[in-house]
Symmetry: C2
C-alpha cells in the first residue's frame, strides 16, 4: 500500500471519528508512510525539519502521540522507534511484531489466537489486560538464508 492511499484512508478515519488531522500530523504521517522500516523520533524530526524548520521534539512527539491514538502508528518499545501500521482501517487488534536485527525490517502480524492465548493466561492469574506488547527479535527470511 502506497503512502498516498494510506493517507487517504487515514483522512477518512479521522473524518469519521471527528479527529483533527492537521498539517503537522499529516506531514509526520507521510514521512512515516514513506519509510520502509521503523524510525526513531529524532530521525523523524530531522526529516520534518526539512519541511518545517521550526519543528522541535515536542512537535514530533505530539504528532506521534496523535497518530498512535488513532492506531495509525505503533511504537516499538524495545528499540524506541515508530512504524506505520498498514492495517489500521481493518481492525484494532493487538499486534505482534517481528523485528529483524540484521536488516531492520519489521513485520506486523495480527493473530487473534495469540491475543486470546495471552489474555486467557493473564486471566488465569487474575489479571486484566488493557494493552499488550509483543516484540520478537531475530532474523527474517532474507537474512536467515544469507
Amino acid at each position: 500500500m502506497n503512502a498516498e492511499s494510506l493517507l487517504q484512508q487515514a483522512q477518512l478515519v479521522c473524518q469519521q471519528k471527528g479527529a483533527r488531522f492537521t498539517k503537522v500530523r499529516e506531514q509526520v504521517f507521510l514521512l512515516l508512510a514513506n519509510h520502509h522500516g521503523a524510525v526513531g523520533a529524532y530521525d523523524l524530526l530531522a526529516e520534518l525539519k526539512e519541511l518545517e524548520a521550526a519543528a522541535k521534539p515536542a512537535t514530533i512527539y505530539r504528532a506521534l502521540d496523535f497518530l498512535s491514538k488513532q492506531g495509525f502508528v505503533h511504537k516499538i518499545e524495545s528499540i524506541n522507534a515508530f512504524i506505520m501500521c498498514h492495517h489500521f482501517g481493518e481492525c484494532n487488534h493487538p499486534v505482534q511484531l517481528l523485528i529483524c536485527d540484521q536488516c531492520g525490517h519489521v513485520e506486523e502480524i495480527q493473530s487473534n489466537n495469540f491475543d486470546l492465548a495471552l489474555r486467557t493466561m493473564a486471566e488465569t492469574n487474575g489479571f486484566t489486560i488493557s494493552h499488550q506488547i509483543v516484540e520478537a527479535h531475530g532474523s527474517c527470511k532474507n537474512c536467515t538464508n544469507v
Copy 2:
C-alpha cells in the same frame, strides 16, 4: 524467596559458569532482590550511592548488563525498568510479564505453550526468533477488585 537465598543461588550459578560475581554486581543484585516491583536504573543508582558514593550511571548499567546476561534480571522495555527474576535457577525460557499500571506490581509467568505459539507463528513468516518481549499492561487481581 528472600534476598539472601536468591543471592546464594546466584553465587552458585556464577561459580558453575565461571562468571565473576563482583562486589558491585552483588550490591546491585541485592538492591534488586529487596525490591518488590520494578526499579528504574537511576533509582537503583541512587540506592547504590548510599553504599558506594562514587557510583555513576555506567556502574549501574554495567552491573545490570551482567545480571541480565546471567538471567538474574529482566529489563522491562515498556517502562524502562528492571526486575529481579525469581526463577533463574530453574530454566531459561522466555518470559511473559504482567504489569499492573495501578500498583506497579509485575508478575512473571513462563508458558512454554505461549513461547511455542509465538515461535511457530514467526516460522510461518520465515522468521527465526532469538529474543522475545512479551509485556502485558493492565490491572492485577487486587487492583481490579477495588
